[in-house]
């Protein structure tokens, strides 16, 4: 049997940065609820030459929007390095494999494999939750495509090759959920995960403990710590109440309460945290949630 042709897209900027050992920075953009691609371009331009890769969320919080794949395609056209977020909520294994191949055909190599929020958390609670694959099985599907086969064992005409990432939550709040995060992280690595982005952290100690634990477990895949730009004390209280795995310590909330200049405090909190955890991770993933304009200042403060 003739060896399948291995098509190669050049290593992405993000992949090169992470492999070089440089402290790597990614951020993310949420596609608009509409068809105007300029919105995402304006946000991306604020990040040009500031960060190494841009995640594009996949119907985040189960809210119907413009697609991640389409936005990744445009980002690529504009000279950015997109990371295509793929969730298992809306597509079965046929559509997932097809979209992965479509991404590769458009020159998109970076994938972030996620389970996805449940349908009832979003704006179409009546929708059918698919979850045909889970995030570990999605990584397995990517690995299988890279071997030149689909999940049914049929041969592909070319072998795509991706740079594959997954997520992990360092702030799981019960013994079972913490241990299961570690177990699942190991499974993700064994199914081909090459990098991790974490759930947002605010407590450097929690993150350090998590990183020490994964080193003890011999998990040697680069981890980018999730950093959310905190806009107000109200946002902190909201996340503490409603966002699983995210915990903003009281000291940070107090700092935010005490200032009128929320933006400067936001930059200070984020850069202090990043400098504190920098020795323990390969980089950070900054979620600006509309405050992309402040990312350059945060990055500038990284020592």
């Amino acid at each position: 049997m003739e060896e399948l042709e291995k098509t190669t897209i050049e290593e992405s900027k993000f992949e090169k940065a992470l492999k070089s050992g440089k402290f790597t920075i990614t951020s993310e953009l949420g596609p608009p609820k509409g068809v105007d691609i300029e919105e995402i371009k304006d946000a991306a331009e604020l990040l040009r030459d500031v960060i190494d890769g841009i995640n594009v969320t996949d119907l985040q919080s189960s809210v119907m929007r413009l697609g991640s794949l389409t936005c990744c395609h445009f980002l690529k056209e504009w000279g950015f390095d997109p990371i295509f977020q793929v969730t298992c909520r809306d597509r079965n294994r046929l559509a997932l494999q097809s979209d992965l191949m479509s991404a590769y055909a458009m020159g998109i190599r970076n994938i972030l494999a996620l389970t996805g929020d449940y349908t009832t958390t979003g704006d179409h609670p009546q929708a059918c939750p698919v979850f045909d694959l889970d995030s570990v099985q999605l990584l397995w599907a990517i690995k299988t495509l890279e071997e030149g086969k689909d999940l049914a064992g049929n041969e592909l005409t070319q072998k795509p090759s991706f740079f594959k990432g997954a997520v992990v939550n360092p702030g799981a709040d019960t013994e079972a959920s913490y241990e299961l995060q570690i177990i699942k992280m190991k499974k993700k690595v064994s199914q081909g995960a090459q990098f991790f982005q974490t759930q947002a952290i605010f407590d450097a100690e929690v993150f350090k403990k998590f990183m020490e634990r994964i080193h003890r477990e011999n998990i040697n895949v680069p981890v980018l710590a999730g950093i959310i730009l905190l806009k107000s004390e109200k946002m902190a209280n909201y996340m503490n109440k409603f966002v699983p795995g995210v915990f903003v310590p009281e000291a940070i909330i107090k700092k935010m309460e005490a200032t009128q200049d929320k933006a400067s405090m936001c930059i200070e909190i984020a850069s202090t945290l990043i400098n504190e955890i920098k020795p323990y991770c390969a980089g950070v993933h900054i979620q600006a949630l509309g405050w992309e304009r402040h990312i350059p200042a945060v990055v500038k403060n990284i020592k």
Partner: protein, 225 residues
Amino acid sequence: MILTEFKPIEEILLKLKDEKKIFIIGCCGCPEGANTGGRKVLADMKEQLEKEGKVVTGILEIDFLCQKALIRSRIKPRTDEINNADSVLIFSCGIGVQSSAAVLNKICHPALNTTTFGGITGMWQGTERCDTCGNCILDCTGGICPYSSCPKKLENGPCAGQSKGKCETDPEKDCAWELIYKNLKKIDRLDILDQFIPPRDYSKILPPAKLRKTKLWALDEEEMI
């Protein structure tokens, strides 16, 4: 009646590959009607396992394996044989495997796949639910069904949506994986969670047309002849 079919013997032997001593439990309810249970089926399995060099520490038939109180009373006189076994092989629907796992401090391997609810008669179940999916993996998940207990049907671990052990979809609902972890920890078998579970075979969910015309599924045609 809840309809079940035999798992292929190769799959059962693979599940039991690291185990030497097996206790067998069969439900006298639905599996007898579906020809996947009953005295002879259990005796045949004993013989097959012994041929493979296993030791069968005992066989127990229980009327309704969906009833935990009944299981508790029936296993009492057989405690030694059960404790002496490495694991338990269960001939029942997914509900019976789950209720057995809830009562016995052993890994409970399903010997059958549950394919469909032919009808509802004969059920005496507790809180356990079966998705009748024909892909039973209850021995990999501590006797908690990830398909009927986790809204996202996650087979390889929880999502990050759980909070304080409760589900993202309902703060009063236990996260299925929290329960899976606790069950396996209780019997010191967390090692089971390291294995990768491939996606479920959805082609097995639809009961075949042939079955739909038999008295096991619908009385219409056969009874009229």
